[in-house]
């Protein structure tokens, strides 16, 4: 066999392996990232500019919608097939105690301030992404790290624009990352 042909075969193998791993996540995972990026975008943008009376409805509404669409995507994933992986059960088991931990921290430390609560939620999500990336794709850990750095940086350096930064960079970042993975197949 000619070395050029061997090299071509190795390239085909590498591309196929990369694409398979990406498509595994693409069966719902990246769509859910875009969905929650959109919720962050409109939620935080509203938090920055809208009065409290509207916000009292905005976030519960967005989160309920997000949860419903996430469940729908999950059911759709199950029907369409994809990859039956045990790793996602472990990841789900990791996210559940993490969410319980965040709720307990908010309750025990009496976090009532909107920005403190937001920071806690965003950092919880960032830790969740980081851990998910350790078991799946390192780029997700990178996204988690960026979200954490962004949230802490905005809270410390530009507290008056905290929600705006979270909407544009946080929400926008999640939307952009999700779309990139969905459409960047090869």
């Amino acid at each position: 066999m000619e070395p050029d042909r061997a090299l071509d075969d190795l390239k085909i193998i590498r591309r196929m392996m990369e694409r398979t791993r990406r498509e595994m996540g693409g069966y719902g995972g990246w769509h859910i990232m875009v969905l929650w990026g959109t919720i962050w975008f409109f939620g935080f943008l509203g938090t920055q500019f809208l009065p409290d009376a509207i916000l009292a409805w905005l976030w519960p509404g967005l989160c309920t919608l997000g949860a419903a669409v996430s469940v729908w995507l999950g059911v759709r994933m199950g029907r369409q097939g994809g990859v039956h992986s045990s790793i996602w059960r472990l990841i789900l088991l990791w996210w559940l105690p993490l969410i319980v931990f965040a709720v307990l921290v908010a309750w025990l430390f009496r976090l009532n301030d909107g920005r403190d609560l937001t920071l806690l939620i965003v950092l919880t999500v960032a830790v969740g992404y980081f851990q998910t990336g350790v078991f799946t794709y390192w780029v997700i850990s990178g996204i988690g790290t960026l979200i954490a750095a962004l949230a802490v940086g905005a809270a410390v350096l530009a507290p008056e624009y905290f929600f705006l930064v979270m909407a544009l960079a946080g929400g926008g970042g999640l939307i952009g990352s999700g779309l990139w993975f969905i459409y960047h197949k090869d």
Partner: protein, 105 residues
């Protein structure tokens, strides 16, 4: 020295095996997922999977979800080992050529 595996060497089966060994051990790919991923027809994918299954490289499990049939596929241990040996052989061909070029005046 590792040798090329004639069964895996075939272009479509090479892609199928590359996809299957990308899955973690214990994970299984749905037939429709694999078909979409590889851009193959049902018949074409079935034929190649049968060859791989006969060689002991791939394992196939047919189940039902409600009334709908579902076919799950994964790389068997023997298939993973054969694929690794095949990749090793490809790398050796490239490296041997590189070495030859370095030796030549």
């Amino acid at each position: 020295m590792a040798e090329l595996n004639s069964l895996i060497h075939q272009p479509t089966r090479l892609r199928i095996m590359a996809a299957l060994v990308s899955l973690d051990e214990g994970d299984k790919a749905d037939f429709t997922f694999l078909r979409g991923l590889l851009g193959l027809t049902d018949g074409n994918l079935s034929v190649h999977l049968q060859r791989l299954e006969e060689a002991g490289y791939a394992a196939v499990e047919k189940t039902f979800v409600g009334r709908r049939p579902r076919t799950l596929i994964w790389a068997a241990q023997e298939g993973r080992a054969a694929f690794a040996t095949h990749v090793d052989a490809l790398e050796r061909i490239i490296h041997s050529e590189t070495n030859n070029k370095e030796i030549r005046p």
